[in-house]
């Protein structure tokens, strides 16, 4: 069995998780500060990839990073880089599709954080940067981690946009999702089943991780409350 699709999928998912991690957190952080109308508009725009059919996302991406698109043509002319139909093309498509998951979970975590912490921090003279890194992020850790895991899983499972942007080239752009489709078309059920099993295992691990993280959110408190009896 050729393990390239697994390797490629993991590689793409890791890169796009990194991108969505930072982009999602910062988008969530700045969206939370905006006035209500602007926030609503930005929110719609940023969540759109979650509800659009992946093929529509793929279409937009091809029009943008394709050899004739505004970004793709510049990359091609300046450095001879073809942004579509190579392994890293999938990073673009998976990032866009996974971004809303990261953004929305991070935003939910930020919004549920007690504003009093920030208010008191500011009156105590602590800078906004300090408060963001030392108070907001640590206290939203579980939410942010859960978002990261979800984004990773989505990136791993993305098919529609990826197949349009990166295609299926065995040994070059093949990913688990595109491989399963290809194997089914070829009627190679035996191998398809193996990849389905791989996919199921990964998904199961990811969901278990998310559940653990979410239950950990309330757990430390319960545990510590029993301790406080001593004081």
């Amino acid at each position: 069995m050729d393990w390239f699709p697994l390797y490629n999928s993991l590689r793409v998912a890791l890169f796009s998780t990194c991108i969505t991690f930072f982009a999602g957190i910062f988008a969530a952080h700045y969206a939370a500060k905006l006035p209500r109308v602007a926030k609503g508009a930005l929110d719609c725009l940023l969540t759109l990839p979650l509800v659009l059919p992946p093929t529509v996302v793929g279409f937009f991406l091809l029009k943008t990073i394709g050899p004739l698109g505004p970004v793709g043509s510049v990359a091609l002319r300046s450095s001879g880089l073809r942004l579509t139909m190579s392994w890293y093309s999938a990073i673009f498509s998976t990032s866009v599709v996974a971004f809303p998951l990261m953004y929305r979970t991070a935003r939910g975590a930020f919004e549920s954080l007690d504003k009093t912490l920030l208010y008191s921090g500011r009156t105590l003279g602590l800078s906004d940067t300090y408060l963001f890194w030392r108070v907001v992020i640590p206290n939203c850790k579980q939410g942010i981690l859960a978002g990261t895991v979800l984004a990773f899983a989505r990136a791993l499972g993305e098919y529609g946009a990826t197949s349009m942007v990166a295609g299926y080239i065995p040994g070059r752009t093949a990913m688990i999702s595109t491989t399963v489709y290809q194997l089914w078309r070829e009627g190679n059920d035996a191998l398809a089943y193996k990849w389905v099993a791989v996919n199921l295992i990964i998904s199961f691990v990811v969901l278990a991780a998310v559940n653990l993280l979410e239950s950990a959110r309330d757990k430390p408190k319960e545990h510590l409350e029993t301790l406080s009896g001593r004081t």
């Binding site: 921090g121 500011r122 300090y130 301790l227």
Partner: protein
């Protein structure tokens, strides 16, 4: 050292209009929940921005809408203690205090200052605990220590006791008294509890529906509030509409009784108030200021008995009709629902109120 506040802010259908000033003293903003007390403090602290107005503290302009000044909260040196715990949950008590001590540019001897704060607020055994391991009172004590670590020029306390049960509340109150005694500067306490305000503050600014305009000495407000709303804030329970009948006498419309007052009745007086503690059963021989009542309910309080009565035996039709009397258990002995009793209201205990 002083504070001057004159601000306006609209928030949906709610509009805040606060105007007060204070010197080196403890001022209370006394008002029901939702009247804009906390919002006022947040505006002074700088975490909320007023629509217009001026905030001056110790000669520094914190906010001036006309000059376009709006200092960020970090530059205001305001110490604010919040209703619920504001300690950072991810840091221990020690780390919480150190965050403030070491963040300032001048962080020399942060360790010595940490030690003295920990000692002063009795946090020695708690310094390595996380906030969720502390009781509500301990949390507020640690937050107080952290706030004092900032060396604030003005202290603001936003209902600091509201999340505590009565024993812890008293402990923290004593702690706060000590802190306020040693503090040279203005302190503002926001509260809806008149007892707390009376014990901790020198002056009181009553707040109602987002409006705060007049400042009273605390004795003045509790002895002689000017309006019906302020009298209600001070905790007075019995009211009646009045008609002036003479230089020093009124007809209490709701109680259907003519009453004598100790002071001349001002022209704009339209209500009277009488505190429940000052209503007593009439003794033999007293003939003035007597209201015949039917006891409608006897309620056992912890250390006293509350007797609800309807004047002239007429069932309450809403409004201010009912009279509430608070007696010791001994005095209340034998009084039952349905009894007819005469009550006496001393002329000097009648508070004359304008609208």
């Amino acid at each position: 050292m002083s504070i001057y506040v004159d601000i306006r802010k609209k928030l949906g259908s709610f509009s805040l209009e606060a105007r007060f000033e204070a010197k080196d003293e403890t001022l209370a903003l006394l008002g029901a929940s939702g009247c804009g007390k906390s919002l006022t403090l947040k505006c002074v602290a700088g975490v909320e921005k007023p629509d217009s107005g001026v905030i001056l503290v110790n000669g520094r302009t914190f906010f001036d809408s006309e000059k376009g000044v709006n200092l960020p909260p970090q530059k205001r040196k305001v110490g604010m203690l919040f209703q619920n715990c504001s300690l950072f949950p991810n840091m221990t008590v020690k780390e919480n205090i150190l965050a403030v001590l070491t963040h300032a540019k001048n962080n020399a001897c942060a360790d010595a200052r940490l030690r003295s704060l920990i000692k002063r607020f009795y946090l020695e055994s708690l310094e390595n605990h996380y906030p969720c391991q502390l009781s509500g009172g301990q949390q507020q004590r640690a937050a107080l220590a952290r706030m004092m670590g900032r060396e604030p020029e003005i202290i603001m306390l936003d209902e600091p006791f509201s999340a505590l049960d009565s024993y812890l509340r008293w402990q923290l109150e004593l702690e706060l008294m000590k802190t306020l005694d040693g503090f040279r500067g203005t302190a503002i306490l926001v509260s809806h509890n008149r007892d707390e305000v009376y014990r901790l503050c020198d002056k009181v600014c009553p707040m109602e529906n987002g409006g705060a305009k007049k400042i009273y000495g605390k004795k003045e407000l509790f002895d002689n509030p000017g309006t019906l709303a302020e009298c209600m804030l001070s905790g007075c329970k019995n009211y009646s509409g009045i008609k002036k009948t003479g230089e020093k006498s009124v007809y209490a419309i709701d109680w259907e009784t003519e009453l004598k007052c100790a002071a001349p009745v001002p022209e704009n007086a339209v209500f009277i108030g009488v505190r429940a503690h000052y209503v007593t059963p009439a003794r033999d021989g007293e003939s003035d200021n007597i209201v015949p009542c039917r006891v409608s309910r006897v309620i056992d309080n912890l250390f006293s008995v509350i007797i609800m009565m309807s004047p002239r035996g007429i069932e309450q039709r809403g409004g201010y009709r009912g009279i509430r009397m608070e007696l010791s258990r001994q005095e209340a002995e034998g009084i039952k629902t349905g009894d007819l009793i005469n009550i006496y209201i001393d002329p000097k205990n009648i508070i004359l109120l304008s609208e």
